[in-house]
Structures are given as structure tokens and as C-alpha cells.
């Protein structure tokens, strides 16, 4: 995690922390519904 953040800070400055949060949002937004798919399987 530290290496991408360091590279991010070099390229984007202080926005790198925000970028880490936004990327986490994207990953959760896409992969979170997989749990929903499991719920649909059990219903």
C-alpha cells in the first residue's frame, strides 16, 4: 500500500490519500454486490 501511495503522491501530490479512498470506493461498489448475489442464491 505504501508504494502506490508514494508513487501517487509524486504524481498527484496530496490527493494521493483521497485517491486511495476513491479506489477503495470503486472496488467496494463493484465487489460488494457479489454478497448480494449470494443472498439472491439463498432466497
Amino acid at each position: 500500500m505504501a508504494v502506490p501511495l508514494w508513487v501517487g503522491r509524486k504524481l498527484l501530490g496530496d490527493g494521493a490519500v483521497s485517491d486511495a479512498l476513491m479506489v477503495a470506493f470503486i472496488v467496494l461498489a463493484v465487489m460488494g454486490p457479489l454478497a448480494f448475489a449470494d443472498l439472491c442464491r439463498r432466497v
Partner: protein, 569 residues
């Protein structure tokens, strides 16, 4: 309704209906893997793509694997678009020297275009580089439309198959949707747009001096290629900030007509594809008639309300004989604007050629209602068809309750599991949009973006979340949404509206595919006649009405009655 309005509506309907059977048949052959006129050119490319991706096209997937593939497919696209937007200042094809897009706006934009929404909290020509537009926005327009088509095909296969454990191969469906459907139509449409004057250039802005002596930067870019897929894909995000009201994005009456036709093109044809795949084209026509009845009703109300003009301006002595022209391009007038707006909201495209914030309150109600009915009035490519099929499942259930029989639809017995999946998919969108609207209108971060007070301000917020959760993407324009609060919450609404709808739809497909055919009998509700079409429309309007009536009453309805008393906001 004016002669121009009625004439444009009739021409549009005639042209659209003429495309339904040929294009519907073509789509059926494409997704069945049959030979088409483009096969000699595209089949080698298709085969090479499978080889590179390690896809075995003959290997089909069960619904769960199909749903996982659908979700996983979106991840790299979103991350790539996010990265492009954040790094665009250091990347080539940036003649206007656009800086990095802020993190929250980049997130919102990445989710927006990957989910086929195209909500834009930015002005295209003042924010994005050419590379971001071409490799980011346009690519996602193709891919998101293809993913929507794939989900619809899975559901149609579910209805068509008997005792099958699989619903198709997601990767094959997406590849064919891009290669055989989106690309060829976009190339043709892009050439027409460029011929009509839409720029297709990698040059930067041209400096000009106005008649008053002021300096002006006239933005150029690869607009024609992007405009074509914008209109076809249901994405609807404009190259320029003023969208299809901009003379470079929509320069002539012909391009306006082309836009009106491209937006519902795939959604309408898919009803015929559905009919062909289940072996009865009349089933498809019944769905299309229900869609078109709602579409024409909305268009006529818009035309009548906007054509009558603003009563407050008329009372003040302002000539209103051309209708309410505030926020509209005079080139298109009320007729060309109303029909475009009806299709932009009904088809999930979200493209606009007039400012929806300037429409009269009752027109605003129609635009909202188009989206609130789950984008089933033709809807987006794929999403419109599977949305309508969800309502068909609910409608046969309601019909079954009325006559005391187990409901059936196109030879499938509809049981508890199918109803659960359909209701999950239908209810998740209003749950997201209404909850987020309620939050935004009570907390300072939400209220800070309001452009107007009172019911119109409420409508701005309601419109934003309704548009996002229904993956429409049009905006009322009065609300300032380029803030961390709106960028993040709208992104959440878009993700919910895309993924949490698609999963139960694919689950429904899997459930239906395993069923055995039920022979129709004299007690089977016919799903091709006027009674069925009326029942289907009734269920759509009642479910939508009951869900959204309080919110509509607080917004556009309250604003309408206040306007009649002389109050504005």
C-alpha cells in the same frame, strides 16, 4: 399540440417502427452466434479476442457465474477511467492543458460512465482532455451498453430455455454486442454527424474575437465519434457542457432527428429480439406497444404544456405564442425540444437539447416520471427490456391473483422465487433514490448545492438522485453537484442502480431457465392482446405512482399549484 410537434412525433414513430423487425432479427442472429452480413469481417476479430482473453465461447455459464462476470467486468474499466482522469495533465492529447480532475469528481465520473449513467458534474470542454474523452468516456459508453445488452440476453434466454442450467456466456455476449452492434452503428452515425458539421478533430480550442471585442476560446475535439455512441448507448453524456443544445454537438434538424432516433433504436428492436427468441413475435410487439403508449403520452403532455407557454409570462404581456422558449434552442423550438427531452428521460439516455430546469412544473413531473417508472419506456439498451420484463412478471402475478391461478408468462410458471427477484430489482432503485434525497434535503452539505428554494429546490435534489439511481444521467441543472457530498452520494446511487438491479435480474434468468414449459390452456392469461397491454401499463403506473407520489407532490406538483397562484421559486 402543434402541427410541428405532431409531425415530428409521427415521423419519429414511423422511422423507429420500420427498424424494429430488421434490427430485432439481426440482434437475435448476433447473440445466437449465427452468421450475419458482418461476419466475414468481424468473426476473425471476434475469434482473436476470445483467444487473447482465454474465453471458450462454447462454454456457457450458470446465472451466478454470469453475474460475477458482469460485476468483475466493470472493475478495470472504472479504475482505468479514474486513473485517466487523475493523470490526464501528464498524458498526451491534452491541447487545452486540462489539469487533473479532482478525486471525488473523478470517482463520480468513473462510476457514472461505467454504469451507463453519464451523470456529469463537470463541463466536458473545460474539464476533460481529448484522451480522457476518447479512451475513457467513449470506451465506457461502448462497454456499459454492451454489458446491459448481455444482461437482457441472459434474461431472455431464461424465458426461452427449458430445463437449462446456463444462461449464456457473459464474455461472448459483451464481445458480440460491441463488435456487431455498437461499433457498426456508431461508425455510420458518426460519419453522418461529421457530415452535418459536428467536429472530429484532435486540435485544441480556437481563439476568436467576438463582435464586442472580447476573446473567446471555441473548443473542438473528437466530438462526432463520441456523439454517435453517446446517443446509441443510452449513456447520453455530452462532449460539450451544453450537450445536444450546443451547435457543435447537434448542429442541424437532421442531427436532432438522428439523435431522437438513435436513443430508442436498440431498446425498441430488443422487444422483437425477445419475441423471436421465445418463438412468438407478438409477445415482443405487446411489450413495445406498452412502451410506446407511455412514450407518446409523455411526449404529448410535454408538447401541450410547453406549447401553451408560461402563464405568468403571458399575464405579464410577454408573447408566448411559440410556447415556453426559456432554456430551449430556438433552432429546435418546443416541438424538437419536447420530443428530445421525452426520449432522453424515457430511454435512460439522459441526453438533453434543452435545459430541463426551465421546463414548466408539469413538464418536470413528466420528465421525472419517465425515469421513476424504472426506465422501462423503451429504456436503455438491454436495461429497458429487462426492466419491462420485470414488470411483466409482476403483472402476470397480479393477474394470477385476480383469477386465482398460478401465474404464467411465455410458457413459464411464475413462482415465489421469481416474484422475489423481480421485486428486489424493482424496489432497490426507489429505496436508494428516495433515501438519498431525504438525506440531502436535511443536511447542510446537501442544501448548499440548491439553486432554488421551495418545491423547485426539492425537485432539483429529487431529480438528481432519481436520474442517478435509474442510470439516466440527465440533470435539472439548477443543483451544484460538483461537491464531495454530491459526487460521492450520486456515485453510490449509480452503483446501486446498476449492480443491485442486474444481480436479481440475472438470478431471475437462472431460475426461469431451469423450468419446464407450461402448456397454455383456456385459463392462461393471454399476454399479447389489449387486455394484457392495459394490465401491464396499469401495473407500471400504479407501482411507480404509489412509490413516488409523495415526492412528486412535494416537488413539481406543489410548484405547479404555486405557479398558478403567482408564486415562483
Amino acid at each position: 399540440v402543434t402541427f410541428a410537434g405532431a409531425g415530428q412525433l409521427l415521423i419519429f414513430l414511423g422511422l423507429l417502427l420500420a427498424t424494429v423487425r430488421p434490427l430485432g432479427g439481426y440482434l437475435q442472429r448476433v447473440f445466437a452466434g449465427e452468421t450475419t452480413v458482418l461476419s466475414p469481417l468481424l468473426r476473425p476479430i471476434e475469434g482473436e479476442l476470445y483467444r487473447l482473453g482465454g474465453v471458450r465461447p462454447e462454454e456457457e455459464q450458470g446465472w451466478h457465474r454470469y453475474a460475477v462476470a458482469f460485476m468483475v467486468f466493470h472493475l478495470p474499466g472504472m479504475l482505468l477511467l479514474y486513473g485517466l482522469l487523475r493523470l490526464q495533465a501528464a498524458l498526451p492529447l491534452n491541447p487545452a492543458h486540462q489539469g487533473a480532475v479532482a478525486p471525488d469528481l473523478a470517482l463520480n465520473t468513473a462510476v457514472s460512465f461505467a454504469t451507463n449513467t453519464s451523470w456529469e458534474s463537470y463541463g466536458g470542454e473545460t474539464t476533460l482532455s481529448h484522451l480522457s474523452q476518447m479512451a475513457g468516456i467513449a470506451v465506457q459508453s461502448f462497454l456499459s451498453a454492451a454489458a446491459g445488452l448481455a444482461v437482457a440476453m441472459a434474461l431472455v434466454r431464461g424465458f426461452a430455455r427449458r430445463g437449462s442450467a446456463t444462461v449464456g456466456n457473459f464474455w461472448v455476449d459483451v464481445t458480440r454486442a460491441v463488435l456487431y452492434v455498437a461499433l457498426p452503428i456508431s461508425v455510420l452515425a458518426g460519419l453522418v454527424l461529421a457530415w452535418q458539421g459536428v467536429p472530429q478533430s484532435l486540435a485544441g480550442p480556437v481563439a476568436a474575437t467576438t463582435l464586442e471585442g472580447a476573446g473567446q476560446a471555441i473548443s473542438l475535439g473528437p466530438a462526432a465519434s463520441q456523439e454517435a455512441i453517446k446517443l446509441l448507448s443510452g449513456d447520453g453524456g455530452g462532449f460539450f457542457n451544453a450537450q445536444s443544445a450546443h451547435p457543435f454537438e447537434n448542429p442541424t434538424a437532421l442531427t436532432n432527428l438522428l439523435g431522437i432516433l438513435l436513443m430508442p433504436l436498440l431498446g425498441a428492436a430488443l422487444t422483437n429480439t425477445f419475441g423471436r427468441m421465445i418463438g412468438n413475435e407478438r409477445e415482443g410487439w405487446a411489450l413495445l406497444v406498452a412502451m410506446l403508449a407511455l412514450l407518446v403520452a409523455g411526449a404529448l403532455v410535454l408538447e401541450a404544456v410547453e406549447g401553451a407557454g408560461n402563464p405568468l409570462l403571458a399575464a405579464a404581456g410577454v408573447d408566448q405564442h411559440l410556447g415556453n422558449l426559456e432554456g430551449k434552442e430556438v433552432r429546435f423550438g418546443v416541438a424538437g425540444s419536447a420530443l428530445f427531452s421525452e426520449l432522453g428521460t424515457a430511454t435512460s439516455s439522459g441526453a438533453v437539447n434543452a435545459m430541463h430546469d426551465s421546463y414548466l412544473p408539469l413538464s418536470g413531473l413528466v420528465l421525472l416520471a419517465n425515469m421513476m417508472l424504472d426506465e422501462v419506456i423503451i429504456g436503455g439498451p438491454g436495461s429497458g427490456l429487462f426492466g419491462m420484463l420485470l414488470f411483466a412478471v409482476v403483472a402476470v402475478f397480479v393477474g394470477g391473483l385476480m383469477i386465482g391461478r398460478t401465474p404464467e408468462y411465455v410458457g413459464n410458471k411464475i413462482e415465489a422465487r421469481e416474484i422475489k427477484m423481480a421485486m428486489l430489482a424493482i424496489l432497490v432503485v426507489p429505496a436508494a433514490s428516495l433515501t438519498l434525497t431525504a438525506v440531502a434535503v436535511v443536511i447542510p452539505a446537501g442544501l448548499a448545492g440548491l439553486g432554488n428554494a421551495g418545491p423547485h429546490g426539492f425537485e432539483e435534489v429529487l431529480y438528481a438522485y432519481t436520474s442517478a439511481a435509474n442510470t439516466n444521467g440527465s440533470s435539472l441543472a439548477g443543483l451544484s453537484t460538483n461537491t464531495p457530498f454530491y459526487n460521492l452520494t450520486l456515485a453510490l446511487a449509480m452503483a446501486v442502480g446498476r449492480f443491485l438491479v442486474a444481480v436479481p435480474v440475472i438470478a431471475l434468468a437462472g431460475s426461469l431457465a431451469t423450468k419446464r414449459r407450461v402448456a397454455s390452456s383456456t385459463g392462461t392469461l393471454s399476454t399479447t392482446g389489449p387486455l394484457w397491454i392495459g394490465l401491464l401499463i396499469g401495473v407500471i403506473v400504479i407501482v411507480g405512482g404509489l412509490t413516488y407520489f409523495p415526492a412528486l407532490a412535494l416537488g413539481p406538483a406543489a410548484e405547479h399549484w404555486a405557479m398558478l397562484r403567482g408564486a415562483t421559486f
